[in-house]
Symmetry: D4
Subunit: 250 residues, 8 copies
């Protein structure tokens, strides 16, 4: 609630159009809509086609069905992340239109409103696929176009070079890599496009569950690289879609 | 070097316009310009007004003067980061037009080409200032407008709320915080603008030289937050300016 | 055993009321009751209504039944923490009046003596519930009133604000948070009430099993925040109840 | 600003007593006073005698003098923590009544309003003194009584036992320990009083700058123990004073 | 092989009693008996009654049976540590006289030669029992007397005090503790007897699989405390028995 | 593609032997063969007898069968590492000539071309065997001779000494050790042969999943020791075989 | 104070030989003498010739002089550890008989009572000398004989072997090593004597200030090895002297 | 001492040429020459031209001069690593022919015997120079040829490609990198030559003093990469020279 709206509200009270009680009720709810909570997201969802998102772990299938139904009334697409197939099957009984995006581990309900803009998701190895797909499917849920450039680790750098045009034309590039945290630096050095690195917990030994990839990405010498949490495909896909939406919006 | 240029080159050889020897020389140099190295940066600098940047540690003042001079021929602004005042004074004797941006610890040569777009730099406490200023001055060197929103930690949250409009109108927000890593989450929850978190090494005890702030930012529940290395004000300022340039470019 | 009691004892020996042998026996046992061991807890339990507590892991169901029975003779409530349902069912066969508090993972025997005072338990997400409930049920076992304010992470901050009165009127607030360790700082900044933070091991990637939340809470800039071990709902609930008991006692 | 005040404000607008513009100005400032920022602290300071506190690192002596002067107009005592003697001497030139509390590293201005209640500060070794004194002086600045029980490590446990009465009669006990993190557990096991542990960075080798003491205190088996950041004497002293104030207030 | 034996050997060659070839064979094998390998252990076992020990993990039951049989020919007792019951049952089919020491997880074959000397094993909680028993059974296998002083954590310190005489009369005290790493310091402060601390991986949260207890024990301020690896009950039991054997030997 | 080949290619275009289009196609593929990707490996495999290697985790048995078949057409031996027996059995149905090398966890197809040169693989304990065998089988797949020197920990040093000749005659020594990270230093001190250390995740407690062994090997005072990732038997075997191939090649 | 003494005391009260007041005074002091505090050390010092020890850091030279004087009245030798030369010179002005043991960084006052028994101190490199000497001088202060076996790292193992007899005849061996944590294992494998490992913070890179050596020693496969804190030469020397005293005492 | 020498010795005893006493003396010394100590290094140095090396830290300039003089009698080159200029100047007064290799921090005495073979030293940034030079100068001291390929980080990859021939023709490549740990992977992917990675402690923030680079190199997906300790330029240079010596020797 910006100051203009506040002034309008207060003038409505001053003019008698609005009772103090009703204004009080609105003030209790509204000011906090400026603080970034759910309702604001609602409005944004309706306006921009951005999906509502449910983080599944720790919720029962009943809770998830209820939330999906409630949110789907307001957003074209609703997704539930970190969902295993068992959860999907339980959800499916009550929300038959739900789809399961494997290996992204995402339950998907609805049809996105196509939006301009594109992002690329680059991944190093076969085992990084679930995280890469979580990023890709999340971005797709906003209606934008997603280019997948998979399996382009150090040993396949030439294939990456074949995609230079796609990388340059994207609003953002999500780079998903576990053992080869170096990939984010390399992509960041190749093109002028913002890179969002996602270290993955794939690897063994001194990869320490993604710590090596995380540190590697954070210490990247290439400019134009920022990083999200280990395995946080969702966060990276969302961040990339946000950049795409803002570029095409302006 | 894209495929179109390659074809042109080869056709020039085929038609006899270019000797094999000369084509060989060009191929040895050019293909790697696709790989993100200095020369490409040159072109980008000339085209976009983005500054050339020198990382000072480990270089002598002679080396830095030489690099600054060489680069300044091609870019409107050249900056040297992580420079202490002593280094500046040594540089100043040979490059009298050099300025010292304190407390950003940046040596600055030249005049940026004004560019559309704006970013915000938000910081928590007085002691985060050097890193915040490194981000702000870096972004300013690209010619865009930078809004500084400083000293808005948990205890000054209301002042942050006074800047909501500025935050919303920015292409990106850099959030610099040491002890209060939470600030990136809070800003990320307030507005729809991409947030780049910079954990700082300020703090004591279990802050572990920025590790606590880094982990806090990475685990942020707010979407739209990505992170750069501890104390990497330059990287965050550059990333933010990149977003501003791309939004206004499209 | 304070010095007054010691003098009394010695005078009883001097006057012949007490044999040296009997005094010796008392001295062997008693002085250490000052050192904070079980018997003192017994007395405290009888006097204050505080529950006896059994930490279940590593104990057989037989041992737990025996301890529960023995303790219940002296305390109105006895609880066994970190108990899974299987253990509960084994206990139930011998102690039929035992109840299972799910998802707190607490076996509960008895009826607390109602006590004045109240505390609040605040939690961020659905997945922090078991730890939050461990804190809440532990505090309830002392007979005080517990207000649960759940699911108020960054995205639901406005709901937290609806509970300001409850938070202010509590003797202490337990804040349970995993991915959002920032919540303890935020609550600590909102009210003047002592906050006990409980980092949880919920989260993934760089949450490092609660380490990120722990460090975040320890580095909180808000004053009036102290922290217990990761996932230690019991310790926080006990500490909060202790504050409530002392406030109302004085 | 609670709902009652809000209603009063709105009714003043509705009745014409207050213009919408003025109400707007108040609403912009006031609602956030509920969020725990400085102004609220002002009021609390005036009401409760709690001191205003400045964290010195990263501030110039000019800034500190200005803040001290401004705050001292509203609070009986103002303190600046983590101040070295050099800073004190600079401050002293402009604020002659400033005192230096050594080894607490605190600059102190003013005279506290005596308040009921007492806390104890217990420390293990000579080298933990600066942190212990930071806690003690902070608590004293609120006007309450502070009992110092120093140099009572494992090798001096008997002296600790001589202070059992003091420990029991305190509203809270701050336990400051570096190499001997165990001391918090031991004190927590001796008495029924809430214990706030402050691990210190004193020690060498595998103390890892306070990490060993921190982990030891967090894993304490004694109930009634909570922990603040390594070396955070201020936070512990404040927390303890808060408990004392609340006990005597009720 | 000491110098005396070497001289004897060389003199046998010089006198022709031994061929150079045979001496060569002996020298290839023998000199390394000075380096602490198995054969020397054989001799020591025969001489001192110390057991032969097999570390089970990674070995098949066939291998273990073979080793047990081979070793038992030379040592009165042979034990296999870290053995689960399943392994024991497989071993039992081929070595029927094998016994299973639960919860020490030790397979035991033979009858120790009673030896003078005694050690104490002290443990904090029920869950530390397997490690404590591993220490105790290992020491018993050398024929000495082992006093178990279990369940004497902070909350049961008075019971520990009842055993002061036993602790003083022991050649060494093994202290096994997970959450209460402080116990080693406390015991080390009580008596003049060498203490060998065994941190255990019991605990949760910030115990970090025994790291907290390990660091706590290493930073113990009590003199006369040394530490072995987390959960290394065997190593501590062996070290303690070694001290007992050496004290009584001299 | 070296400069000579490039010149040949360009001269073929200049002379009209090759169309610009065809040259373009070749340049798109070939230049990157200099960057170390698969195709170059093909050529190397054909030329040197080095095996093609598939890292199994994260790949389906169908994918692995396809890759094995495709690669086996070009290389005498193809191996798939980190394969469990279940995967082997699935592969076996489609590639009946596949063998399973247990405990190396390697699926092996083909017959290596015998090559001169030898390496040694030294391991400390029974439980290090899978990693040691991964190194040994990898090296064998290149056709060279591998000497296994197993079970030579500190307690069996004399057996190691019996193999001094083998160690000296090897082109490289792989030392595999978990709890005994010291073994790499010891071997490095014994002979003049390059040592490649492989820390393993075997061990417990403060071995921290191989970290202790890794750090121990990195801090080795013996010269001539380098280290690969924890449990990376493949990398060490490959590195050793590379040294053998280069020595015999020159 | 054992039970026999307690009975004697109580009987003295019962018989009127001792007033209740006097008994009270004794009981207040004495029982805690069983808890391991200073006074007990006094008695032990007088009886066994063990030195009184002052840990210098954090104490002023005045405090140290006072303590040295007070303690020297009761113990033949008093030492102050971790003392730099500057502190020594300050102390020397008031305690002229004080000596400085360099490089052990120990201030030494008095003359030890010669005692039977010997220990060995083994160190790896020149830079471990200060810690090794701290151990040696500490042990010497108890009057026993100390054999120094220095500079016997991996590269000087043969010199170590020349001292096998000395190592075997010692009651304990202190092994001090930084980069070569392996040395403790190697010595532990050579002889049957208890080994106390002291990891030092010497080294660089991945030695992580002694962590590598600490972990290496804890994971030693040799039995008969226990470890003290990084750089804790004093603790190791004391532990070793304790073993020597107990062996010769029995 | 190999078996042939042993047999010769024994036969000399058997034939009376050698007394048992003299043989005993030789056996005490000689067998351990097989264990990798100094004397063997002497012989190797004389034979192969490999330098004698002194690690300077912790040694006085007197000690270093003495060692240099003693060693130089037997080896063509002697170097002292980690020496600052001040140490060099002290040494220079006694050993005037000593040279100082800056920025390698190496004191160098003598003239290497030219040897066949070459290695390459590759480094990323200006600040990695001291470590890179330590590697290069160490290798040069063995008489082989060293190619320096400096300043070829991600931003200068094309320059690296200009050196492909040099890299391929080297017996080994040392890759020195701090912030860009990825460089070792990239070089390892480019050529078939063994790569020895040296992580450096250069960098800031989450580089954690070289830990990020170390982990990055260990997790390299490129085969043919092994790693030495952080900043251990000497170890890498020595390892590389060893490979060169062995290749050309065979």
């Amino acid at each position: 609630m910006d100051q203009a709206s506040l002034r309008t509200l207060l003038e409505a009270v001053a003019s008698g159009q609005l009772s103090a009680t009703e204004a009080l009720r609105r003030l209790r709810d509204l000011p906090f809509e400026d603080l970034g909570h759910t309702k604001v997201d609602h409005h944004r969802a309706l306006r921009t086609g951005f999906p509502e998102v449910v983080f599944s772990p720790g919720k029962t299938s009943e809770q998830i069905c209820e939330i999906l139904a409630s949110l789907h009334a307001q957003a074209p697409v609703v997704i539930a992340t970190r969902a295993d197939r068992e959860l999907y099957e339980a959800v499916c009984r009550q929300v038959p239109e739900a789809e399961y995006r494997d290996p992204a581990r995402i339950i998907w309900v609805g049809q996105p409103v196509p939006a301009p803009g594109q992002v690329a998701v680059v991944s190093a190895g076969t085992s990084d696929l679930p995280v890469a797909e979580e990023a890709a499917v999340t971005a797709e849920a906003t209606g934008i176009t997603v280019h997948r450039v998979y399996d382009v680790g150090v040993a396949g750098l030439h294939r990456l070079l074949n995609y230079l045009e796609v990388l340059r034309d994207s609003a953002a590039i999500v780079v998903v890599a576990g053992m080869e945290g170096a990939l984010a630096s390399v992509v960041g050095g190749l093109v002028d496009t913002p890179v969002i690195g996602v270290p993955t917990s794939i690897g063994y030994g001194a990869s320490f569950h993604g710590l090596a990839a995380l540190l590697g990405m954070l210490n990247s010498c290439a400019t134009g690289v920022a990083v999200v949490n280990i395995d946080n495909g969702f966060g990276a896909g969302y961040f990339a879609a946000l950049l795409a939406a803002r570029q095409t919006r302006s």
